[in-house]
Symmetry: C2
Subunit: 369 residues, 2 copies
Amino acid sequence: MIAKTKNGGVATLADVSRTAGVSIATASTVLNRPWSSKHITPATRERVRVAAAALRYRPNLAARALVSRRMQTVGVAAVVDGGELSHYFLEIFNGIVTAAAQRGQNTTAFTLRDWQQAAERIRDFCDGRIDGMILLAPTFTHAQVQLPAHIPFVSIHANSALPGVVNIESDEEAGAFALTQHLIARGHWRIMHLAGPAGLIGAERRISGYKRALAAARIPLDRELLVHAGYTAALGCEAMRAWLQKHAGEPLPHAVFCANDAVAIGCSEALAEVGLRVPADISVAGFDDSFAARAVVPQLTSVRQPLREMGARAVELLLARIGRASPASAAQPKAVVFPVELAPRASVGAAPRVEQAVPATAVAAARTP
Amino acid sequence: MIAKTKNGGVATLADVSRTAGVSIATASTVLNRPWSSKHITPATRERVRVAAAALRYRPNLAARALVSRRMQTVGVAAVVDGGELSHYFLEIFNGIVTAAAQRGQNTTAFTLRDWQQAAERIRDFCDGRIDGMILLAPTFTHAQVQLPAHIPFVSIHANSALPGVVNIESDEEAGAFALTQHLIARGHWRIMHLAGPAGLIGAERRISGYKRALAAARIPLDRELLVHAGYTAALGCEAMRAWLQKHAGEPLPHAVFCANDAVAIGCSEALAEVGLRVPADISVAGFDDSFAARAVVPQLTSVRQPLREMGARAVELLLARIGRASPASAAQPKAVVFPVELAPRASVGAAPRVEQAVPATAVAAARTP
DNA sequence: CTGAAAGCGCTTACAG
DNA sequence: CTGAAAGCGCTTACAG
């Protein structure tokens, strides 16, 4: 029990075994497989334990990973546009980190400038430093990016089907439907939709729910009220501002259903610029029920997606697939769909008693040559 | 050039060397040390490159880490209270991930329930899976938690000096001073401070700046106006609500300087409950200049700490210390202090012309038996 | 200019 | 009940 570490540094299994007076194999068994160490003398087991504790032995994960081919780490790949990590990302990431930690797994974050560069970088990420990867809202297709076959992937809100990858999504169509229906129930019928980027499946599903709710209420779709903005506050503000300028003097929409909370915040800004009050003059609703939805005044009516839970589920599914044989050979897994929930708040009021017109904008018209 | 991988799986260096018809050592040199491979025939180098590309060779990081003792990964430890990752964390984390990625380093997040449990868990984290660690706003002392000596640490906003650890902080005292001075310049003099948790160095520094600004303007400190709330919106709301109830009928403060933006948002909520408008009736200011400060209406006057840059600097300093001999033997490194910046916004207005009294609260008084 | 060999710290059949 | 040995994939002196 006198022997210390050979090199004055971190203790290794060899140090422990030498100190305990047993072989490396025995030390390893005692420390890592308590159940199969039943066949080892209690006295021996105790000696090993004491030695490990005395030497502050910690297994070297790199060495262990080399033989077990498991790094006990899950990777998360996400696009960080313009250096901004959004709240959407934060919520999901939180769910992932927490769930992973509960299962003794680490989480390594990989941020990408855009999904186009993902092809080569994702491959780099998979060089034995992670056991599986979660893709956050990937927009690439199977044709653009071939995912490495040797580790499993799980995606959240993928924009297209990726072979062999389970996708976790939320029922955005139902959310958009419920939200639009809610607006209609409050007496609104001239309902505008500031939609997300054209072509993105999530944006399309929200549009689809919007249309279905209008149809269900027999409200004809007004093409002028369906505008593609994007997913940021700046784009929302810009889109609403442009719309107001173009439609000055025409009937004011009763409500605006925005692609997400950020867009709703930008939209409200544009409305405030021309003196319109939310919800007295016009109601506004968002989507995602992010932190921002509750931080703004008035608080935003929104649709809650259980982002935290979705992240946690991603970890579960990923872990279940790690180490399992040939996931590729399995049939394409079905998507996991989470329900969403309407979160009614102050930004949606009753329809105004009298119809209003879009105010003439004080803002200088966009300078066109 | 016919040989494929031995086991149908991922190609190893051995596969590459066999395919290229060279030794493993040569393949390794060509692939990893282009400069010292100058002494290798161009033809040989080319053969190795072609073979590596053809086999889609990717070095196994676990194996490399085992010999080089570098995982190319930095760890970030932070406390996630109540499952909430705050914006404060998000901003810094963003700076860290981005800076690390630029230097080819991965970032692994470790979340803790509290810093008390940090002792054992931090030790676990350092089992060769990271090369260094960044501590986010640690509150433990050296006596409570002994950091492992074999890897370097850098802290951000540490609450007490940790031996051998560089701390990155911002000049919170100056920020609080500038903010309070700004309020005074706008004509306010009955200025309340909803402070952070007692005992935390950051909270104390903000209090100190507040006091110094009052003293500089010869405004006597009113003990009733200095209240400890905490760092969350709920605590801010609660503290303000309690204060209003207790002080009904007394002169209303002109302005409230809150420990951070979340507290300011909670505070505004409490003010709104009794019909007080910001900034017409009372001005409110926050601290941190988080996303929330700009998301609320009216936007919050705040103090900007360059969190993103602080995270990036942490990575730089950490990388500089990784692999360098005995950081422990060096003298205690000096803290790195970042300047802060006042961000004046709409939540602070001019002092009202007439003094107001704290309105009687409509809320039922706390039921005491 | 290139290769054979040792070794990083661990796990796991396989012998005794 | 316990130990000797091979091997995970790589890097790096050290020989030729």
